[in-house]
């Protein structure tokens, strides 16, 4: 009979921790997703393993509530290309094609900075996990971070597992290990904040490839502003239209 209260206590404790993780993640998300509906101008710089510049890309990202994102490529090499992400469903419009293509989550991963890295700006709705404990923020750091171990709760996400270290007080993201479906470490992320002592938003995410070419991708959030796009912009067939972005 004594087992029942113990079991209930364990269950309640586990549930409380799960709720804690969700709360922490929601707080962490606000450092990238500073409003529920957002327009973000993003600059990507990829450097080779030896530090030489490889390529530069510009994107306008409309990150909207309900796991909806529209990515408009702005660089000359990709001008006219668009990617729409609605939950676990993805479409691609290639320049000049006038035909939106359904793509699989696997095709979404194309490129050094995958579209998922650019378009996904929150974790709370896609991941659940546990608090591993307090750990140094990185090997050289003296301050301690909270280490969260997260597993994807949805099928369409770019990374299946994330080991995330966040600040103890404000829960700002500090670094993350990003694992793909095969549980291989794909990238390591570092987050650069606007004010190191009292951070309010992520200025830059630095992704170091761990699989093949060991390139480093700098994802810089140049400009954020709250913006809710009209519902028709999130219709896949609307991708062929060119509405004014400003």
């Amino acid at each position: 009979m004594k087992l029942i209260p113990c079991f209930l206590l364990t269950l309640l404790t586990a549930q409380a921790f799960a709720q804690d993780v969700t709360s922490v993640l929601k707080a962490t998300d606000k450092f990238r997703m500073t409003a529920e509906n957002l327009q973000v101008d993003t600059l990507i710089n990829v450097t080779n393993a030896d530090g030489t510049p490889d390529k530069e890309r510009r994107y306008t990202v409309f990150a909207q509530a309900g796991r909806q994102s529209l990515v408009v490529m702005q660089s000359p090499a990709e001008k006219g290309q668009k990617v729409l992400m609605l939950g676990d469903d993805f479409w691609l419009l290639m320049p000049g094609s006038q035909r939106p293509l359904r793509i699989t989550p696997m095709q979404k991963l194309l490129g050094d900075a995958s579209t998922g890295d650019v378009a996904t700006m929150s974790w709370a709705n896609d991941y659940a996990g546990k608090l591993v404990g307090e750990e140094p923020c990185d090997a050289a750091a003296k301050q301690a971070c909270l280490h969260l171990s997260l597993n994807a709760t949805r099928k369409g996400v770019t990374y299946q597992r994330i080991e995330l270290w966040v600040g103890k007080t404000r829960f700002e993201p500090v670094r993350a290990d990003l694992y793909v479906l095969s549980d291989k470490l794909a990238k390591q992320a570092m987050f650069v904040m606007d004010k190191p002592t009292a951070p309010t938003m992520v200025l830059e995410m630095v992704l170091a490839d761990q699989v093949s070419n060991h390139k480093v991708t700098h994802v810089r959030y140049l400009n954020r502003k709250a913006r809710q796009v009209p519902p028709e912009w999130l219709n896949p067939m609307f991708l062929v239209r060119n509405p004014p972005l400003e």
Partner: protein
């Protein structure tokens, strides 16, 4: 009068579009391309050339400079192409054309366009039977912007549904054929979670009604499946009079209309975590010449060659053989049944690909190997295409046996 009406509508649409507030944008690309061609020694064109040099124009090497300019703003979109081409040692041939020039009006969920515009609807890669407004050339070596059609377009969008209604070639003659035929066309799109469903309808001024449907479905994390089907009461084509025998004084291939035509495609794309993609498609094009028509074609080729051996005038036989070769460029698909397989790998900045088009009816094939390098502004593409199969295969008798190309594209 019809052209004037269309111009008036276009001007009215332009006036409405002027009210739209959009920042003007200018972009484009310049592409230099070299094509190296190895002419086929088989087929009716080669036979015509052997009999009488100069009677038939064989494919030759060429260089080309193509500039594409894109401008948009104030509700107006335009795409203009300037091309300079030099084939072998001939003089430079220059031409320019407008790919798109249309005015758009944004009324929220309703969107309107008028002018020359590109509209692509279907879901396939190698073949798109439901591109009812215009049929693009598929499986090109280097992709380029197609040329749009004059149209009036109204579309409505909500979260999961889209309607498109289009009057294409509204100012063309009611007797115009093929892509110039005036027609009304409609598309209904509905999203069902992981699947996109489409319904299509077209009413041609001369060819009458046709209807189609398409589906694209993301079945798993790595697998996408798609299919299309279309039925047409009439489709414009060209055919040879089956009673044509011996030498004739005019091209026996004349415009005709195929009846009760079915076209379909089924295919899928599988992508691995390492970005290796395999596309496989199988399609049937009922508008392509039938097996019986190709048999007649083949018999006539033999008959003409035999006539030459019997002493018939070489120029007349060569001319008739050259007309036979024209049939190789009359339809999107040469044979009705087709299989297409494409293997590609994306490893930034490289993208190699290898594809095969196979026609089971005569075991003809076209193999293409290509490599693309993509930089920030520069793209370099190169590849080789080879046709083959048994001697009697239609694809094996195409004018070019091998085609190599290199293209440098700079975007701005």
């Amino acid at each position: 009068m019809a052209a004037q009406r269309f111009t008036m509508l276009l001007l009215a649409a332009c006036a409405a579009a002027q009210a739209q507030d959009a920042e003007p944008q200018l972009s484009g690309q310049v592409r230099a391309q070299w094509d190296g061609v190895h002419a086929n020694t088989a087929g009716p064109l080669a036979a015509a050339h052997t009999l009488q040099a100069g009677m038939a124009t064989l494919p030759v090497n060429g260089v080309m400079l193509e500039t594409e300019l894109r401008a948009s703003g104030k509700g107006i979109t335009s795409v203009l192409t300037l091309q300079q081409q030099r084939l072998d040692d001939n003089a430079i041939n220059s031409r320019a054309w407008v790919n798109e020039l249309f005015a758009s009006h944004d009324a929220g969920a309703w969107q309107f366009s008028a002018g020359k515009k590109i509209v692509s609807w279907d879901v396939g890669y190698g073949y798109r039977p439901n591109d009812m407004v215009q049929q693009e050339t598929r499986r090109t070596l280097v992709s380029s912007t197609p040329e749009g059609r004059p149209m009036l377009l109204a579309e409505h969008f909500d979260a999961d549904t889209a309607w498109s209604l289009v009057a294409v070639n509204p100012s063309a003659s009611m007797n115009a054929r093929d892509a110039q035929e005036p027609a009304l066309a409609a598309r209904l799109y509905q999203r069902f979670g992981a699947a996109d469903a489409y319904g299509f309808a077209r009413l041609g001024a001369r060819t009458g009604a046709s209807a189609g449907a398409a589906l694209a479905w993301v079945a798993t994390e790595a697998l996408e499946l798609h299919s299309s089907v279309r039925f047409s009461k009439h489709i414009d084509s060209q055919s040879m009079d089956p009673n044509t025998i011996a030498l004739v004084a005019q091209n026996p291939w004349q415009p005709s209309t195929a009846q009760n035509v079915t076209q379909w495609l089924i295919g899928g794309t599988w992508t691995s975590p390492s970005q290796l993609s395999l596309l496989t498609e199988v399609w049937w094009d009922g508008s392509a010449p039938s097996d019986a028509q190709w048999n007649n074609w083949s018999q006539r080729n033999h008959q003409l060659s035999a006539l030459a051996a019997l002493g018939a005038p070489a120029a007349a036989v060569a001319g008739n053989l050259a007309w036979q070769a024209q049939s190789l460029g009359l339809s999107q698909n040469l044979r009705r049944s087709n299989v297409f397989v494409r293997l590609s790998w994306q490893k930034d900045p490289w993208k190699p690909s290898l594809d095969l088009l196979y026609t089971p009816a005569d075991q003809g094939r076209v193999v293409t190997a290509a490599l693309t390098w993509q930089g920030d502004r520069m793209q370099v593409q190169g590849g080789v295409r080879v046709v083959g199969g048994p001697a009697a295969a239609v694809l094996a008798q195409l004018p070019a046996k091998q085609l190599a190309y290199v293209a440098l594209t700079w975007t701005f």
